[in-house]
């Protein structure tokens, strides 16, 4: 285990989280088209950052920094990491950040078409997931984790975690579509709001039951209970932020410009959604790391009856 590599991976993950916040600020301020240019802003590397150009060009600067950090991370991984699959993940991270930059350019050049903007927002979450995963894989706790003898539940925990993860990811896609389907001065489409509320219920059930299962089955195993507890707390915060975001967004078309608290609450909702996603990623990866594929009941069913 290389402590420096792990710390650098954590740095890249934190920078990516900051980038997600910067991107959410662009959307909430309706700043995505503050300049017609890409990759330059109004033909300049450093334009005067006034008005909404502050958010759009600021986002590009943070994105450039994250891109550089990702390149450095890949070099660091190739130099220090022996595991072939981690090295490949470093390459995937670089490809993802390049694709993300190109999607950002496309969405500006094509004036925010919904599929491209949604893909840009979704890939941002996936890239965050990759950087967090690299941080997990290079951590001491990952290296030193020892397999637990068996999954104590009837349903294998890794399947529960995977289900929660997929549900959250689908919810993120719906959320991204909802956010990019109308600017602050327009009302959000009702059908997408209902889909997002339905998704919130599904995530609550999937993640709530998964985290509770972890807490009940593996008391004392902080390797699993810590992300489970954090996921539960974040889930509650995210639900409250979701209600607040809906209420402030409902009122924003009557405002003469994007205003707080709508901006800060919608951005916080995006950021907290990202944290729920990556916390579930950590929980899922750790589950796969220490638990067997089958649950206790499945083991029993599969075991031949002793006479």
């Amino acid at each position: 285990m290389n402590k420096g590599l792990n710390r650098f991976a954590i740095l890249v993950a934190c920078a990516t989280f900051f980038l997600i916040i910067a991107g959410a600020l662009v959307t909430s301020n309706d700043a995505g088209l503050a300049t017609e240019d890409w990759p330059l802003s109004n033909g300049q590397f450093f334009p005067e950052m006034v008005g909404n150009l502050f958010w759009e060009h600021g986002h590009r600067m943070v994105a450039t920094t994250v891109g550089m950090l990702t390149i450095a991370l890949l070099i660091y991984i190739l130099a220090k990491e022996k595991r072939q699959w981690v090295r490949r993940l470093g390459v995937v991270a670089l490809l993802a950040v390049i694709a993300q930059g190109l999607l950002g350019g496309l969405t500006v050049k094509w004036m925010l078409p919904l599929p491209v903007s949604t893909a840009h927002a979704t890939l941002a979450q996936l890239f965050f997931c990759i950087t967090v995963s690299i941080a997990v894989f290079t951590s001491r706790s990952w290296m030193e984790a020892r397999p637990l003898p068996e999954d104590k539940g009837t349903l294998p925990l890794r399947y529960l975690c995977t289900t929660a993860l997929v549900t959250i990811f689908l919810q993120l896609i719906i959320g991204a579509t909802l956010r990019h389907s109308a600017t602050w001065d327009q009302h959000l489409p009702t059908e997408l709001i209902l889909a997002h509320i339905g998704g919130a219920l599904a995530v609550t059930v999937a993640l709530g039951s998964t985290a509770m299962n972890v807490l009940l089955r593996y008391k004392g195993h902080s390797f699993l209970t810590r992300p489970a507890r954090l996921a539960l707390v974040l889930l509650v915060v995210q639900l409250l932020l979701g209600v607040a975001a809906y209420l402030t967004r409902l009122a924003s078309p009557n405002d003469p410009q994007p205003l707080n608290p709508m901006i800060s609450i919608t951005v916080a909702h995006v950021a907290c959604g990202a944290l729920v996603f990556v916390t579930t990623i950590v929980l899922t990866l750790r589950t796969y790391r220490v638990l067997p594929a089958t649950g206790a009941a499945m083991d029993l069913a599969a075991r031949p009856q002793e006479s």
């Binding site: 503050a34 300049t35 017609e36 006034v50 008005g51 190109l102 004036m111 009302h187 003469p256």
Partner: protein
């Protein structure tokens, strides 16, 4: 070629395609098809004309003016320290910035007004960015008539119409930059124009096939001149809500005379037949009743 080389080749090609698409632009929703489709053989109208005049009233208390926070761009704050939203301008119960236009109608003699050819003016209509607001807030142009957008502010703007029937465009305009001149090929009532640099800045452009439109002044009055005598549906459009609110009225325009068309918006206004639900192409799709 081994498997690894093939994988890298595929990835490289995919990235190149995406990069080429990004650099090449390729706006969606674009069309160059001429849409000012004056029917073949349509003739210009020659004969006596009349006019439609009226007043746009606003019933009830006028909405309180809402101050704009210009702190994001000091140049706006310096030029317009007390900037307020310009979406509803009411003075003495009269409503400004209402777009009034002839939607459809029959000229004396039985021909539809759309059966005539209406020439496109050669003069451009100006839309100025002044004090970090679009001036005028509502304006009309004819199909293929030049719209000239200027910037009188000591800061940069970006001009971004978001039509549904015409191609969308977004163009940055620095202080002192030459005017941006554009035309719209299809009738559309009305096209919102925004500035993504300053999100409070909005204007609306009505694109008409004919010249029979007007915008109410601060005293709420308007006049549509040069209309052939006949029976017409006159529509008044006011900003607000998702797509604005429309009210319509039937009028009979006499030769060398004037028809009256007063509209009222606000609380308890009953002139309306119904509010419009969608952006509609002028003279092409009837309002739903």
């Amino acid at each position: 070629m081994n498997k690894q080389t093939k994988v890298w080749l595929v990835i490289s090609i995919a990235l190149s395609v995406v990069l080429a698409a990004a650099c090449g632009g390729g706006a969606t929703n674009t069309t160059n098809a001429p849409a000012n489709t004056e029917s073949a053989g349509a003739t210009a109208y020659s004969g006596s004309t009349g006019s439609v005049t009226g007043v746009i009233s606003f019933n009830g208390a006028a909405p309180a003016s809402r101050k704009i926070d210009t702190s994001a761009d000091p140049a706006c704050g310096q030029k317009s320290p007390n900037l307020t939203a310009d979406d509803i301008v009411v003075k003495d119960g009269k409503l400004a910035n209402t777009f009034v236009y002839v939607k459809e109608g029959t000229v004396e003699g039985g021909k539809k007004i759309t059966d005539y050819a209406w020439s496109t003016p050669t003069t451009a209509v100006n839309l100025d960015q002044n004090g970090c607001q679009y001036k005028p807030h509502v304006l009309g142009v004819q199909v293929n008539q030049k719209l000239s957008v200027t910037n009188s502010d000591p800061t940069q703007h970006n001009v971004h119409p978001t039509p549904k029937l015409n191609p969308e465009w977004n163009q940055t305009q620095a202080n002192g930059a030459p005017p941006i001149e554009k035309t719209f090929a299809r009738p559309e009532v009305l096209i919102p124009v925004k500035c993504n640099q300053h999100p409070w800045m909005k204007a609306y452009v009505g694109v008409m096939r004919h010249p029979f439109f007007a915008v109410s002044g601060e005293d709420g009055t308007f006049e549509i001149k040069g209309l052939p005598p006949g029976n017409y549906t006159v529509v008044a459009w006011k900003e607000g809500g998702a797509n604005g609110t429309e009210k319509n009225m039937q009028v009979t325009v006499p030769a060398n005379g004037s028809a009256k068309a007063d509209f009222a918006f606000g609380e308890g206004a009953t002139t309306s037949l119904n509010p419009s639900l969608k952006m509609m192409p002028a003279l092409e799709i009837p309002l739903r009743h």
